[in-house]
Subunit: 254 residues, 2 copies
């Protein structure tokens, strides 16, 4: 089998946030698949074919990319951030498991990138400086009770929590409900970071105490980081405050 599929992480969005390895995989591709706004970030060579698709068509997109790679093409399937974090890599694995046997002989490589929580954390200090978790708030693919149970377990155990997919048109109330659950487990002053488009021209970073965290501050492109009781703020006069979680749990405020 001569084709190949690279599942490529574009990082949080700015062209300077892509790794060299990812750029090389994009340049080597004959065909590029992806959610239309991600493909629109790239400049393709005239010989390269773009196959754009909608936001909710992940499995169909993975199947189409695999089928074309199996036919002998060199295919790149692009993902925002890192493909392994709430993105295309798992969809590709699902498609291979369910697909024709010859897809299992295909050369497939995941090319990592900077995922949203790392970019948002970098813009405000080091909120992920100690143990943390990443949790998707979407209840399209898991029951909402599971989301709440995970929020309670993570906050109760002292993990900082990065929330992916916090809101969408079809999921308007979940983030507000998540804040309510977290307010039962964490101090009112716990720092919450709303990070949108980190590192891009339209970047917006807001830091508020959990007591005042309002779901209206988030949209589909936002990653929300909820601190632990140990997370600290360092005021810096005219510069934005630093938000960080100490490396030592002994120095925790809790």
């Amino acid at each position: 089998m001569t084709g190949r599929l690279d599942v490529v992480g574009l990082g949080p969005g700015g062209p300077a946030q892509i790794t060299g390895e990812a750029r090389a995989a994009l340049e080597a591709a004959t065909d590029l698949f992806g959610y239309a706004p991600y493909l629109a970030r790239l400049t393709l060579a005239p010989s390269q074919m773009a196959h754009a698709s909608g936001n909710r068509e992940e499995l169909a997109r993975a199947n189409a990319a695999l089928a074309l790679a199996a036919s002998g093409r060199r295919v790149a399937l692009v993902s925002g951030g890192d493909p392994g974090v709430f993105a295309m890599a798992a969809a590709v694995c699902e498609a291979i498991e369910a697909g024709p046997q010859d897809w299992r002989r295909l050369e497939v490589a995941m090319v990592p990138g900077v995922t949203a929580m790392l970019a948002v954390a970098a813009r405000c200090g080091a909120p992920l400086g100690h143990d943390f978790c990443a949790l998707s708030l979407s209840d399209n693919l898991k029951p909402w009770e599971t989301v709440e149970a995970r929020l309670r377990a993570a906050a109760g155990a002292g993990f900082v929590i990065a929330l992916y997919n916090p809101v969408s048109r079809a999921r308007p109330w979940q983030l507000g409900r998540a804040f309510d659950v977290l307010r039962e487990a964490l101090p009112a002053a716990t720092a919450v970071v709303f990070g949108r488009a980190a590192g891009r021209a339209d970047e917006r970073i807001a830091v508020v105490p959990l007591a005042e965290a309002d779901a209206g501050l988030a949209d589909m492109a936002t990653c929300v980081i909820v601190g632990s009781a140990a997370t600290r703020l360092v005021a810096r006069g005219t510069l934005p405050p630093l938000v960080y979680t100490p490396r030592s749990a002994a120095s925790a405020a809790r």
Copy 2:
């Protein structure tokens, strides 16, 4: 204040895994601080000063980098992986909080990178494809009881678990004990990935069931990913199996 400090993530190790933004920050620096093996990865210009230090001197290194930046130099402090994940960004924030007031007026930027768990996950499929946490096994800076409580909370709630700092000469038994704790909470067949130097020439990736997970498979440069009960293996004949956690919790094996 004219100096500046960039805290720069080098990614998992290969030169192609650095972002353009990180490379630019390294090139613009007059002085570079870091753990000696990380600095050794870089090619510096003759005008650039290298300030190498040992592994355990994080706070001293952060203080030295801040002091030099405050004196007007443009300083890069390098970190393996991402500086915000069990690395130098939190040490810098701690140093700023405890240091002289003028350090709070200094321009400080964290430049994100690909952290180890993302690189290891990419090399074996998509084990972090659904909710997951990252936990340092070091009990130098937190009580071991806290580590065990977090392991139990994370495994019980269905998070995949990435273990950083799994072993060191001074911490020989912690990883074995962590596997014992996890075997109480997870099925014997749960996939465990040992990923060492992902993306580098000396890379070593091993996938074993939790029942057979042996701490001897890890060293200081290893990131260990313990699946959830939903994590799946896809056999691929002569190719290594894919390890992935489905996007949908409804399709979980549990």
